[in-house]
């Protein structure tokens, strides 16, 4: 199927050669983002000498990691023209279950991470089943499950915080334990996931199918693509990544887990994805762009704090960044269609 699509046999009967299926390695949006991030980093470096030091950049990368990680799953979902606004609530559920288990039993790192990923995947499965097989618009379903997840999370919390967390997840944290050779583990893991996801979306047959589903679900189904299992998969993957990201959040926090863990992250993740050039209408997007989007958002947030401006200003810049990024994307699409 996909080999058919990708092979570019010269047209023998005089018809034009098929349009190329694979996008260029770096899309326009990614180039723009790299430029903006470079300009911002240089400006911040000039204005606050402390910015371009490892004491400032490394925490930034650690903070980017969970957002970009969930962003990878969200990119998959949005490419299929879906959306998941329940990730914030899912972070809360996975974080509270994992940390309560760690406090109660003191399980070591690997089982704790696997538990977190498992719980996250289970929540993603609920979303995926309802979206793929219930045939309901994804935003409605995930608004609904967000409420249900929040209920579950708060029930686990009882009415207090989780106290006395062990230092198991310090390997994902900001401190010395979170780095090897100066590279934060959480960011390295995120880079690895981004790389695998990039390869999958670009070169695996089912990865290309996700774009087909987002472009035209009906056409994709008629072309023999198993739409429902693939859509289900995107939500399960997102859930699993939420589970892993929850470990990062716990590792970045203190020894107390607050009930507000994850709050508001769903919109931040979606912001990172759309700033990264993924079309909310489906059918177009890259995980590399999402990583850049997450870095841009985090740069703005840390930059505002380091300049000594009121931290609430960062949200204003995030809003402006979304409008600017999507606006240039829309204009580029328009001019491409005209030419």
């Amino acid at each position: 199927m996909s080999t058919n699509l990708e092979s570019r046999s010269p047209a023998t009967d005089g018809t034009p050669a098929p349009r190329k299926i694979l996008p260029s390695l770096v899309t326009g949006q990614e180039g723009v983002l790299i430029g903006i991030i470079a300009v911002l980093w240089i400006l911040l470096g000039l204005l606050t000498p402390a910015f371009l030091t490892s004491g400032s950049i490394l925490p930034l990368l650690v903070a980017v990691a969970p957002i970009a990680l969930i962003g990878v799953g969200m990119t998959f979902i949005i490419i299929t023209a879906g959306i998941d606004v329940s990730v914030a609530a899912a972070i809360m559920v996975t974080a509270v279950i994992t940390s309560q288990t760690m406090v109660a039993t003191g399980i070591p790192l690997i089982p704790a991470v696997l538990l977190s990923i498992g719980v996250g995947a289970l929540l993603g499965l609920v979303n995926g089943l309802l979206v793929a097989y219930g045939k309901i618009h994804a935003i409605i379903i995930t608004f609904g499950t967000a409420n249900v997840f929040q209920f579950i999370g708060l029930r686990f919390f009882g009415s207090s915080t989780v106290n006395g967390l062990p230092d198991t997840f310090d390997v994902f944290g900001r401190g010395e334990a979170g780095r090897t050779l100066g590279i934060p583990h959480s960011f390295a893991i995120t880079l690895l996931v981004v790389a695998v996801a990039w390869w999958y979306l670009r070169h695996a047959a089912s990865g290309r199918h996700l774009f087909a589903i987002g472009g035209n679900e009906n056409a994709a189904r008629l072309a023999g693509i198993k739409v429902k299992p693939l859509v289900l998969m995107t939500y399960v993957i997102t859930g699993a990544l939420v589970g892993l990201a929850a470990c990062f959040f716990i590792g970045q926090g203190t020894s107390t887990l607050e009930q507000s863990v994850g709050a508001g992250r769903e919109l931040l993740v979606i912001a990172a994805v759309v700033i990264g050039g993924t079309s909310i209408l489906g059918g177009r997007g890259t995980v590399f762009g999402t990583l850049l989007g997450a870095i841009l958002v985090q740069t703005v947030t840390s930059g505002v704090t380091q300049l000594g401006w009121p931290s609430q200003l960062s949200d204003l810049f995030v809003g402006v960044a979304i409008i600017a990024a999507v606006g240039t994307d829309i204009l580029r699409e328009r001019s491409r269609r005209k030419s």
Partner: protein, 360 residues
């Protein structure tokens, strides 16, 4: 697909007995279903009350007092109705941020600059219209997907509200006295035998609902909104200025958010910069109300009466849950109820569409 629809129709005609017709009405007329659910909730809660399982009495006075939370909820539900009707993925995530910012505007103009109540309300409404116009411009004229445009303005306006106010709530004497606008009053003429009803119902909710109903059902704007929400391209060919009409839907959403801001300032006796975005914010409950009220997320379908009944259902159910479960458990169960209702309602919408075609 077509054949099954035909078969269903045939079966329907053959078994046109009372039970079948009742089921069909409940599924196709969202108002009928919501009405039934409200009756069920009231019946269950009242019987629990008689059995002594509630921590307070679930009577008419309690139900009337609970309506205070229906005012902002229903009004924002109407705001979502306007934008979701306009189609092409219409949605407004920024209502909470607009409420926060407009609340601060009202706090300044009424509480600090002391311009008088009506000029202050006017200024706040204009602020809402401007915020809505920004959304409308981005969506209708720039071609932004509504989810993205309103996500961006959500961030920007939320931040503006915090910065303009210096993160401090405004609660000067005027604002504190304004609390009287949120009190309950006796309904004139027939009121002495009925429980007192929150004033906001008459001053804000009923005028907004009436205006929304007239706009949607008795003006060309309303019919055009349904048209372009149902089929954008067809509306263009029919000569509808889809851009201007779609923009107007977002402007109205902003205007309603501005009015809600005043209601919320009155309820808290304070203009808080995070009034609309703290906790889950206001957008999520408003969208839930809209979907529960039978508004199709794809646009073109939805009614004012559905929004009002869905609000009553949620508000009275929540009020009952608070009496049945003490403390934290009650507020947590409200989340569960909201989530399950939303998922249930949308699954039901699907069944209806498959079995009977359109939902009314």
């Amino acid at each position: 697909m077509t054949t099954t629809a035909l078969k269903n129709n045939e079966v329907g005609h053959r078994q046109e007995n009372l039970g079948y017709r009742a089921v069909r009405m409940l599924l196709t007329q969202r108002i009928a279903l919501l009405g039934l659910l409200i009756v069920v909730v009231l019946a269950i809660m009242t019987s629990l009350d008689f059995a002594g399982a509630l921590s307070g009495s679930y009577d008419a006075d309690y139900l009337a007092a609970a309506l205070i939370s229906a005012v902002p909820l229903a009004m924002l539900g109407l705001a979502q109705l306007m934008v979701i009707l306009s189609g092409r993925g219409g949605i407004d995530l920024s209502v909470g941020a607009m409420v926060s910012l407009c609340g601060i505007v009202f706090g300044y103009s009424y509480g600090i600059w002391d311009l008088g109540l009506f000029p202050a309300i006017l200024i706040t409404a204009v602020a809402g219209v401007l915020c809505g116009a920004l959304n409308g411009f981005l969506v209708a004229y720039m071609g932004f997907p509504p989810l993205i445009a309103t996500l961006a303005t959500f961030y920007a306006l939320k931040s503006l509200a915090l910065i303009v106010s210096g993160q401090k709530p405004i609660s000067t004497l005027q604002i504190q006295d304004f609390f009287s606008a949120a009190q309950s009053v006796e309904i004139p003429v027939i009121g002495h035998s009925l429980p007192d009803v929150p004033l906001g119902i008459f001053t804000f909710l009923i005028p907004t609902a009436l205006l929304a109903w007239v706009l949607l059902n008795r003006t060309t704007f309303g019919r055009r909104l349904y048209a372009l929400g149902t089929n954008d391209v067809a509306a263009i060919w029919a000569g509808v200025d889809t851009r201007a009409n779609r923009m107007l839907a977002y402007v109205l959403s902003g205007l309603i958010s501005g009015l809600v801001a005043i209601v919320i300032v009155a309820q808290f006796a304070s203009a808080r910069p995070d009034a609309g975005v703290s906790g889950n914010g206001l957008a999520l409950p408003a969208i839930t109300i809209a979907v529960l009220g039978g508004v199709a997320i794809t646009g073109g379908i939805g009614r004012v009466s559905g929004i009002l009944l869905a609000t009553l259902l949620i508000v009275w159910l929540n009020a009952g849950i608070l009496l049945a479960f003490a403390g934290n458990e009650g507020t947590q169960l409200q989340l569960l109820a909201l989530g399950l209702l939303l998922i249930g309602a949308s699954l039901l919408n699907n069944v209806t569409r498959k079995k009977f075609g359109v939902l009314h």
